[in-house]
Symmetry: C2
């Protein structure tokens, strides 16, 4: 049995940023970092909102709201806060079954010990609501003041994003209103408190904070419980965020804390009912996997009809809160199998942001739809031309993620069609859905180059998944995904023509001719026949000619621990060392097209040449290892994905910029490895089959999945898998 | 009247490298740097050979021979050398009418003053011969020892290149033999001396030197003359270099120094008869131009049938002694007009090195002939993939001069056809000549890319003349030159077919179809119609979108004086600042295709954006200024070209690597500006015309030129030019 809790006992100030990620709570509308209530901006607290972005000078990023959780204690007129006042004991915990963050801290005061415990949750039942409960005990007659309110001094990477910030008190509520700089979107944070014991209360404004001061005197050993409700609304939710926020906290206060918590927990129970993964014989793995799924649930945008998940979830402003191919290639399957409605929301986001992709393609002189590498609302590409800082010169370095990582549009098509295939729901393939697929195919068609002396088409000057090699020609992964897009678009066009549903603006015959011709003649590198690379597929033109140095050798060439391995002159750039799975990603997606010996040869060739510098890498190696019948080789890569946030250790700082956060794509990859890799869940001729292949650490597994509207119970014991319709 | 002499009085040790270039003598077979006789390797002396290369670990470079000029003085048993013994007076001079280097040095000794004067020449009459004359005078009875011989301690950038070095004395001669490391080519340096006064002589070997010790006692005021002959042969000249070298110095000694010098001067008189440029009213310019022509004459490979001129002449091993497009685009016209036989040798070199160009194209997966960016014997491309060292990391930086500067093949075709047009000599267009042109056109045809959604062809991922912008698409200059090649090749094929002379391996109709189609559909950027760039032609796709910072602003961003402006991240790379004339080079070659306002607009737009970081740049701006009737704006650029070596000031060191040398392309550009720019010599409908346009500094000019086998005298007075057949 899983205990569903992770704990951190003791206090180390420098761990605040990473604990902020590991102990994150959220409900898809907002993410609340696992920081202590008394923390101010320097400790990176955040109430991070989904799908609302702002530019304030630097790049566009999501906004963090004024922190409605801000609180601290005063005892006998002295302030007790971490890290300033060292505690006698301290700990935090996350109940990841229910998304509840807890802390307990005991301080020694001149007259005795005082203990503060808190718990908080971002309500799954009402996403605009945060619930907080404070408990204070002292072993003496302490003169206590619980200070709690809203801190408007917000941590930002590129802020401040809020202007016209107004702090005001109502009778019992505090209210902060503001609006975003760029689009003038109003936001409101309201809160109110309830003390179940006699108190004296005041409202004060102190600097950038508006606060309740709640005074009481403790009896030794007695517990004093104070509840708090924070309501959060923006102009994207409603017309009058301030009014809604105030109303929400008033009503919730009336209903009581327990009522809110009950409703919240009920939602989580429902989520876990469909998604919990039981792993026999490996409690570590079971914890890591379900903890990963917890993170995916916490950031799923169930509250909307059309939104996607940023690459760092709702853990902050890293990577501009933008949506990458991570959603389609790594997270989608989890939602398809446990929560298809959310999968639909994710895919609808792409269809709804087609306009941005059309504009981006046109900007670069292409036809069709070139999706954003870092997608914000409307498909705006938040990626900049300069993403890396040269550590030797301090200069921004031109990168090509935005303009040359063209495989993104194929990921969108892949995701939409996988949604349709897995759910059987064709409603996304309405006019706009068909257009999305057609426009992506038109984009690839316009990328095709025909050298007059060759009988095939090429795609040149791109970046593949392995970002360490820039401006390369005929990246196998990119070309295969382009071919996939062209082929699938031809099918979609054909069907739409047959159904009389092809948008009138298209010449169906001409589209068919182009897409079929493009798909047929597009160059794909083949498994090599030369002795040194037998069966290995060259990642791009000339890759095999690059220096074949070992990872250790290449690493030893670093002159600065933070220098970029890629770009034009990075230590990996002119070697065969790659950042992450590239050919292996391709073969994982299209494994049925190659003999097992080809899959094996590529895994064996590329793995030692992969730095795994991206959290996306390990999962692809794990999954392909399962497909070649090597679950034991898959296992460490699976564990790496599953532990990405639990263990941490990823890069948190790039120079002076915070780039830490959670890794939902790794979480999604861990899920896929368990269910599709070890569990062997797949479609064969449209039929769901289960052909397990467990690593030695795992004896059995049990989980549920949805397929085409039907839920199934999957039970695996050793090599035997049974799938039962529920 | 020109005095034909440059002088440097006084001694500054640190000037040795630059004076080595400025006072260079040579005869096309060898170059001898203008260094003092007593200098050893650290002062960069060199007897640099043409057309013979070696690899010894690093890159391939031309070899420097054991220095047969090595000599110094001992007086009263004390050694007198510079810089060790500071002189009372010292000076060097170059008689650039006759290619004679002279030095004079007076030292104060304990007993009085001693003066050494020397002169030396690399014989134009017999290119294997160096003649040297020493004169010693003292104002007291000095006990003098003149030490002279051969120093085998050779200055190399990437040496040593010679192995099995053997030093031996004959009765009166010293002989050094050795062979190159890579190709085992034997080389021999022999020398002998003759003293016209009673001496005692010894031969000694001292370290890496073999030396005569010539002892004599001076009478006050009397001059003691010693003559020396050095003979130089390699296995490329003859079967037995040692025997030939010894025989040569014996015979020359028998005939006497004056006889060798007379024959040498006679050759120079003949050269100047056809090439001297007389400029009225501007003796500075006249000196600079004729001094430039002196350098071109000194390095012209008249002794062979097929060889070309390295970019740094015969001044050392810089740029690997390799041949660049400099020959065709900058030096050729001088030889066409003053010495057509040498022009033929230069162009024959390209035809004879077709094999190397075919191999290079095949290596990169292209068809046809891709000429070497840095051509050595056989067309071997000495250019490396890493030409620049990152000053911040010390790492070699990947550059693309070799693989992407594809305009080189067009320069070859341009040169050959210009030779044919100007001389009327069609003998180069035999089978191999036709093949050369056809294969260059095939190369460009195989570079053409057809985007399936566009109705034209493109050439992508190249470097144009402006090397600061790498990996660009549709460089106007490159595309225009490719189009030129395709068009001209079609004409050549058509004619060869008509004459029944098309090589049998070719399908003439198919070649015609391809070349005509390629030429017709190849994209050429047009003069812009937008207001900000009216009439300006965009240098490559996207150039106008780059940051339009001023040269000063870009320069101010340098963090290190030696950092590279180009590459992926150089200060110029993502701005509109360019290294050298690019569009302006194109418009200069094809000025008849554009209205004068277009030429003007481009000159005016690009000049302030040009760093002129290459000595090739100024000349193109000078010539285009003449074509738009602005000789006064041309004048400073002309002077910059003409003074490139006379004034020096170019970069001599890149980090620890010596990159100094002479600048024959700038010399050629100065000539072209005088004759074709100011002088207005051009062809109009196949007729030679002279339409002068003199800058205010110049009142008149007089020079001779060859055209189609006939020599003409050109006299220009103000705006009037007369051309008289001789």
């Amino acid at each position: 049995m899983l205990n569903w809790t992770i704990r951190e006992e003791g206090y180390e100030e420098q761990n605040a940023p990473s604990l902020g990620n590991r102990y994150l709570i959220g409900n898809g509308y907002m993410g609340i970092r696992g920081t202590l209530e008394e923390y101010e901006a320097d400790k990176l607290p955040a109430v991070n909102l989904a799908g609302i972005y702002d530019r304030a000078g630097g790049w566009r990023e999501p906004i963090n709201l004024p922190n409605g959780c801000f609180s601290y204690l005063r005892v006998d007129a002295e302030i007790y806060k971490l890290p300033e006042k060292q505690p006698v004991s301290h700990g935090i915990e996350l109940d990841y079954r229910y998304g509840i963050f807890r802390r307990h801290t005991t301080w020694h005061t001149a007259r005795g010990n005082v203990t503060l415990t808190t718990e908080r949750f971002a309500s799954m039942a009402k996403v605009n609501l945060i619930g907080i409960r404070f408990r204070v005990t002292a072993d003496f007659h302490a003169d206590v003041e619980l200070v709690t309110g809203i801190d408007c001094d917000v941590w930002d990477l590129n802020g401040p994003h809020l202007e016209e910030v107004s702090m005001g008190g109502q009778e019992e509520e505090l209210l902060v209103t503001a609006r975003t700089q760029e689009q003038k979107i109003p936001v409101a944070v309201a809160e109110t408190v309830f003390a179940s014991y006699p108190v004296e209360m005041k409202q004060v404004v102190k600097g950038n904070k508006i606060l309740h001061r709640i005074f009481f005197i403790t009896k030794p050993g007695e517990q004093y419980t104070t509840d708090k409700w924070v309501g959060v609304y923006t102009g994207k939710d409603c017309d009058n965020p301030a009014k809604e926020a105030l109303e929400l906290v008033r009503i919730k206060k009336e209903n009581g804390y327990d009522s809110s918590l009950r409703a919240h927990k009920k939602c989580w129970d429902e989520l876990w009912k469909h998604s919990e993964v039981i792993i026999k014989g490996d409690s570590n793995a079971m914890q890591a996997v379900n903890y990963s799924l917890y993170h995916l649930h916490s950031i799923a945008p169930r509250h909307t009809e059309s939104l996607s998940i940023p690459a760092r979830g709702l853990s902050g402003q890293t990577y501009k809160g933008a949506v990458f191919w991570d959603t389609e290639m790594f997270m989608l399957d989890f939602f398809l199998m446990t929560d298809p409605a959310t999968a639909r929301i994710l895919m609808k986001y792409r269809i709804d942001t087609l306009e941005g992709a059309l504009q981006k393609a046109a900007h670069y002189g292409y036809e069709g739809a070139f999706y954003a590498w870092e997608s914000q609302e409307g498909g705006y590409d938040a990626c900049t031309d300069y993403n890396v800082t040269d550590v030797f010169t301090g200069r921004p370095q031109r990168t090509y993620f935005k303009d040359k990582q063209v495989h993104i549009s194929a990921a969108v098509v892949y995701g939409i069609l996988r949604y349709v295939e897995w759910t059987g729901d064709e409603s996304l393939l309405d006019t706009k859905g068909v257009k999305t697929i057609v426009e992506c195919a038109k984009f690839y068609y316009s990328l095709l180059l025909h050298s007059l002396t060759k009988d095939y088409y090429e795609i040149r000057d791109v970046i593949g998944p392995d970002e360490y090699h820039e401006r390369i020609n005929n990246n196998g992964y990119t070309n295969r995904m382009a071919k996939f897009t062209l082929e699938k678009a031809a099918e979609v066009v054909k069907k739409a023509m047959a159904d009389g549903k092809l948008p009138a603006e298209y010449d169906g015959e001409e589209l068919l001719r182009r897409f079929q011709d493009g798909a047929e003649k597009l160059f794909l590198p083949k498994p090599s026949e030369d002795a040194a690379h037998r069966n290995v597929i060259e990642q791009f033109d000339g890759y095999f000619d690059m220096e074949d140095a070992t990872l250790e050798e290449v690493r030893s060439r670093l002159l600065h621990e933070k220098e970029y391995w890629g770009g034009a002159y990075g230590v990996a750039s002119h070697t065969q060392i790659i950042k992450q799975a590239d050919v292996v990603t391709w073969l994982n997606l299209f494994s049925q097209e190659y003999d097992e010996e080809v899959l094996r040869a590529n895994w064996a060739y590329y793995e030692p040449r992969t730095e795994h510098g991206s959290s996306l890498s390990a999962g692809m190696y794990a999954m392909l290892a399962c497909k070649i019948g090597e679950p034991d080789r898959a296992y460490p890569f699976f564990l790496k994905s599953a532990m990405a946030d639990l263990k941490g250790g990823g890069k948190e700082w790039a120079g002076l910029v915070y780039i830490g956060g959670t890794h939902p794509a790794a979480a999604g990859a861990a899920y896929m490895t368990v269910v599709e890799g070890f569990g062997g869940i797949r479609l064969e001729n449209g039929k769901l089959v289960c052909k397990p292949s467990l690593p030695r650490e795992i004896q059995g597994m049990q989980f549920r999945i949805f397929y085409r509207g039907q839920e199934y119970e999957v039970k695996i014991e050793g090599t035997k898998g049974t799938v039962t319709a529920l």
